[in-house]
């Protein structure tokens, strides 16, 4: 899922200068699951903003709501009209939601309440880790299911580099070297020899280096 975290409150308060009617808008998708932008976090942020306003002597009327998803047009449809009643809509969705509102709701000023961080897994309650970089050219079948694009600091296709020591990455001893893990995993599966084949140089266009990405499926288009 997409992992995000709330922006620092001082940054949010700066964004809200001059706003007197605000809608704090959550999303029940990924950001609700990673406890960054669901119903509960919307109420917390609204309370924090009220307190910030009180401290700064700012008057602000704050409404709250949470949509099922901010990345599907049917769910943000009502915001086209409703959003105009506010000086700003503070979206607690990932950056996709903020962009989508900006694209689809003319006349609505949308602001980001979160920093969108990465695609990650939930290790335990309150702990997330990056597992996928969304590079558009998955090589996990060659690497024992472990992603060198997301999990290697150098994004190496043929690792490890010379900095791998005792299974740890040279950037930080607390970070495991994914290439060490890939070799161990492949050995466990008696497939270590597969790694002798050099992976070709990656074409990074699918990773966004060729400009913004999009996808169309003719069979689904209306």
């Amino acid at each position: 899922m997409i992992i995000a975290e709330r922006k620092p409150l001082n940054e949010i308060m700066d964004m809200l200068k001059g706003v007197s009617r605000l809608l704090v808008l959550g999303c029940r998708g990924c950001v609700a699951i990673c406890s960054a932008g669901g119903d509960k976090e919307v109420e917390i942020l609204a309370s924090a903003i009220r307190l910030g306003c009180k401290k700064q002597g700012m008057g602000m009327e704050i409404d709250t709501d949470t949509y099922i998803r901010q990345c599907d047009p049917e769910y943000i449809e009502p915001l086209k009209e409703r959003g105009r009643q506010y000086d700003a809509v503070l979206s607690m969705a990932c950056g996709v939601g903020v962009n989508f509102i900006a694209d689809l709701c003319p006349g609505v000023r949308v602001l980001p309440g979160l920093n969108t961080s990465f695609y990650g897994a939930n290790l335990s309650s309150g702990e997330w880790k990056e597992m996928c970089a969304g590079c558009g050219a998955c090589v996990l079948h060659l690497t024992g299911g472990l992603c060198p694009v997301a999990r290697c600091a150098k994004r190496l296709s043929n690792g490890p580099c010379g900095g791998s020591v005792g299974g740890r990455c040279e950037i930080d001893p607390n970070v495991s070297c994914v290439w060490f893990a890939i070799h161990s995993k492949m050995q466990q599966m008696n497939r270590a020899d597969d790694l002798m084949e050099i992976m070709p140089i990656r074409d990074w266009r699918t990773a966004g280096h060729g400009g913004p990405r999009s996808r169309r499926r003719e069979d689904l288009l209306s």
Binding site: L9, N10, E43, I44, S47, A48, R50, L51, K54, K55
Partner: protein, 124 residues
């Protein structure tokens, strides 16, 4: 008028009502006592709202860590208090305006002391 302090405590750490404690002069007039079934019920939002509703400072008094009636309620409350301290800092406020305390069952003294300590802090 004494400082406005909201004191959250659980039913297990409270031995007398707000009115009784005030009548005895054990807590100042400006204190609002908010008993809960368990301090683990306190959400971050509740702590922030206490400030929004006018408290100058907040104290939370829960069961001793290893003797919480609901096992982990007071430990959960402690984590949320810590989180709110961070939020106060982000808003340019002092993190010392909120504090967590742990108290044995049915002992009023720790609550009275917590309130007293916070009053002193506010007078600073």
């Amino acid at each position: 008028m004494s400082n406005r302090i909201t004191a959250f405590c659980c039913n297990y750490t409270l031995s007398a009502s707000e009115a009784a404690l005030k009548k005895e002069g054990l807590i100042p007039e400006g204190v609002t006592l908010r008993p809960l079934p368990c301090t683990g019920r306190l959400e971050i939002k509740d702590l922030l709202n206490a400030f929004v509703e006018g408290a100058e400072a907040v104290v939370v008094v829960g069961c001793e860590k290893d003797a919480c009636h609901n096992l982990k309620g007071s430990v959960r409350a402690e984590k949320r208090v810590k989180h709110v301290k961070g939020m106060l800092k982000e808003l340019g406020m002092s993190p010392d305006l909120i504090e967590m305390h742990f108290a044995p069952r049915k002992a009023s003294e720790p609550l009275i002391r917590a309130v007293e300590e916070m009053s002193q802090r506010l007078k600073g």
